[in-house]
C-alpha cells in the first residue's frame, strides 16, 4: 500500500532515469520481479550457507544429499513445508492466526524496494529511503505479535512479548546509528549514501556499524538475541502452533529479514555495490553474503542473552553510545567539514574503543534475583 503510493509520488518526480524503455511501468515490473527473485534466491542461498557453514564450524558436513553439495536442500524444505497439512488450533483466533504470517512476511520483502543493486538500479529511489526501511521493518513485529496472540499458546505468547519488547527498544539505537551515517552522507536516499562512500562508512562510523549490527541482529532475532524463539526455553516461540504454508512464511521471513538487514548493512557501511573490477551487483551480493556470514559465525559461537540483559543492553549500553556517536559525528561534520577522511578514521576508532571501555567499566547490564 505504502509502496504503491510512494511509487506514485515518484512517478511525478524526476528521479526516474529517462532512458528506460516504456518508462515507469517497465521499470516497476522489472524490478519487482528482480527483487522477488533476488530476495527468494538469496533466502534459499542463505539457508544453505547457514546450514552448511554452521555445519562446518561444528566439525560436520551439513546437508549434502539433496542436489549437488546439498544446494537443493532449501528447495526440498520449501516444497515439503508447503505441502504439509495446515493446522489451526481449536482455541486460536482464526483470523489473526491466519493473517499473522502475511503481515510478518510482506514487510521483509518490501524493504528491498529501496536497496540499490547498482548505480540507480533499484525499484524506487526514495528520498527518505533509510527511513522507509526502518518504518517498514517495524511492521513485521506486529505480525509476530499477532502470531503469538492468535495461537493461544503460552509459549507463543511469551515469545511474542519478548519479540515486541526487543523491537521497541532496539529501534532507537538502530535509528540513531543510521542518523550518524545520514549525517555523513548528507542524504537519506540509499543510492546517495552509496555514492557518498568514497571510503566505506564502516571506517568513518565504526561505532555506528557496531551498534547497527548488534541492534539489527536483535531486531531480526538472530542469535545471540533469538529470545522469542529460544528453543531451549520456549520450544519454538511465537510460531509453535504454526504448520504448513504459514510456518513456511515465518521460516522464510526469518531469513528474508536477515537478507534485508545484511543488505542494509552492506549498503550503509560497506559501500553497497561499489567496488573495483567486478560488476556492481556481484559486489553487492558478495558484501551481503559476507555480512550474513558474520551473523552465522556469531550465531554458532555465542550463547543467548536473557531478556532483561537484552533490554538493559539496548537502554544502558547501545542507546547512550549511539547518542554520543551522533553528537560526535555532528561535531566532526560541523567543525571539520573538509577534513580528510583518513584522519578521521583513526580518531573515530579511538573514540569507539574509549567509549566501549568506559561503558564497560561504568554500567551493569541486567539484574539478578528478584525477591518474590
Amino acid at each position: 500500500m505504502i509502496l504503491n503510493s510512494s511509487l506514485n509520488s515518484i512517478a511525478y518526480s524526476s528521479t526516474l532515469p529517462p532512458d528506460w524503455p516504456g518508462g515507469f511501468w517497465w521499470h516497476w515490473l522489472l524490478f519487482t520481479v528482480i527483487i522477488i527473485v533476488f530476495a527468494l534466491t538469496l533466502v534459499m542461498g542463505f539457508i544453505w550457507i547457514e546450514r552448511r557453514g554452521m555445519g562446518r564450524m561444528q566439525a560436520r558436513l551439513g546437508p549434502n544429499q539433496a542436489g549437488p553439495f546439498g544446494l537443493l536442500q532449501p528447495v526440498a524444505d520449501a516444497l515439503k513445508i508447503l505441502l504439509k497439512e495446515d493446522i489451526i488450533p481449536a482455541k486460536a483466533d482464526r483470523i489473526v492466526h491466519w493473517l499473522a504470517p502475511v503481515v510478518a512476511f510482506a514487510p521483509a520483502l518490501m524493504i528491498f524496494a529501496v536497496v540499490p543493486f547498482g548505480d540507480g538500479a533499484m525499484l524506487a529511489d526514495l528520498d527518505i529511503g533509510i527511513l522507509y526501511v526502518v518504518a517498514i521493518a517495524s511492521i513485521s513485529a506486529i505480525g509476530i505479535f499477532m502470531a503469538g496472540w492468535g495461537s493461544s499458546n503460552k509459549y507463543s505468547m511469551l515469545g511474542a512479548m519478548r519479540g515486541i519488547a526487543s523491537v521497541v527498544s532496539y529501534e532507537i539505537p538502530v535509528v540513531l546509528a543510521i542518523a550518524g551515517v545520514v549525517l555523513v552522507a548528507g542524504s537519506m536516499s540509499l543510492n546517495q549514501i552509496v555514492l557518498a562512500q568514497d571510503i566505506p562508512f564502516i571506517l568513518l562510523q565504526p561505532l555506528g556499524f557496531l551498534l547497527f549490527f548488534i541492534g539489527g541482529c536483535a531486531e531480526i532475532n538472530r542469535s545471540p538475541f533469538d529470545l522469542m524463539e529460544a528453543d531451549s526455553e520456549l520450544t519454538a516461540g511465537f510460531h509453535t502452533e504454526y504448520s504448513g504454508m504459514k510456518f513456511a512464511m515465518f521460516y522464510l521471513m526469518e531469513y528474508a529479514e536477515a537478507v534485508a538487514i545484511s543488505a542494509i548493512i552492506a549498503t550503509l557501511f560497506l559501500g553497497g555495490w561499489r567496488g573495483p573490477l567486478l560488476p556492481p551487483w556481484l559486489w553487492f551480493v558478495l558484501k551481503v553474503i559476507f555480512v550474513f556470514f558474520i551473523m552465522v559465525w556469531t550465531r554458532t559461537t555465542l550463547p543467548r542473552v536473557r531478556i532483561d540483559q537484552l533490554m538493559a543492553l539496548a537502554w544502558k549500553f547501545l542507546f547512550p553510545l549511539a547518542l554520543i556517536n551522533l553528537i560526535v559525528t555532528a561535531i566532526q561534520i560541523l567543525v571539520w567539514p573538509d577534513a580528510l577522511p583518513w584522519i578521521l578514521v583513526p580518531i573515530n576508532l579511538a573514540i569507539m574503543a574509549l567509549l566501549i571501555l568506559l561503558w564497560s567499566k561504568l554500567f551493569k547490564l541486567g539484574w539478578g534475583r528478584v525477591e518474590v
Binding site: S6, Y12, V96, D127, L131, S138, V167, V168
Partner: protein, 162 residues
Amino acid sequence: MGLVVAFWILAVVGILGALGVVLLRNIFRASLCLVLCFLAVAGIYATLSADFLAGVQVLVYVGAIAVLIILAIMLTREVERGSLSNRLRIPAFLVAVLFLGVVSFAILNSLWSVSALPPLEPTTAALANRLFGEGGFILAVEIAAVLLLAAILGAIVLVREK
C-alpha cells in the same frame, strides 16, 4: 488518475479501520484495526507527496505507539469480551455527536486555500529548513525536547524502587 484511485482506496481502508477500532468487541482486533488505520493515513500522506511524514507516521505510530498499545492490552483481562456497555453509554453518545458537529462546522466554515504550487521535492530538506532554519520553529522544537526530557525523568522517578 493513479493518485485518485490510491486516495479512495486508502480513504476507505482508513475509515473501515477506524470503524473497526470503535466497533469491535475484541480489543486485540480493535488495536490491529488501529494499526491498519495508521497505515492508511501514512498512505494518504504519501499520495500528498509528504513522504517524510509518511515514513515517520509508520515508524512512530505503527512501530512504537501501536506496539505499546498492544503490549498494554496484554495486561488486560478477558480481551475477547472487551469493554462492556455501562451507564456512560448515553453521555458518551452525546459527546460524540457534539464533537461531530464541531468538526463538521469547522470543516464547512474554513476557507481552504489550495496552493497552485507543485509539491516540494524533496520534502526532507524543506522540512528541516522550516524547523531549524532562519525564522523557523527552533524554539518550539527545543521546548518540546525539554518537555519530553522532563517527562522521561518524571517517569523514571515514579517507577524507581524506593
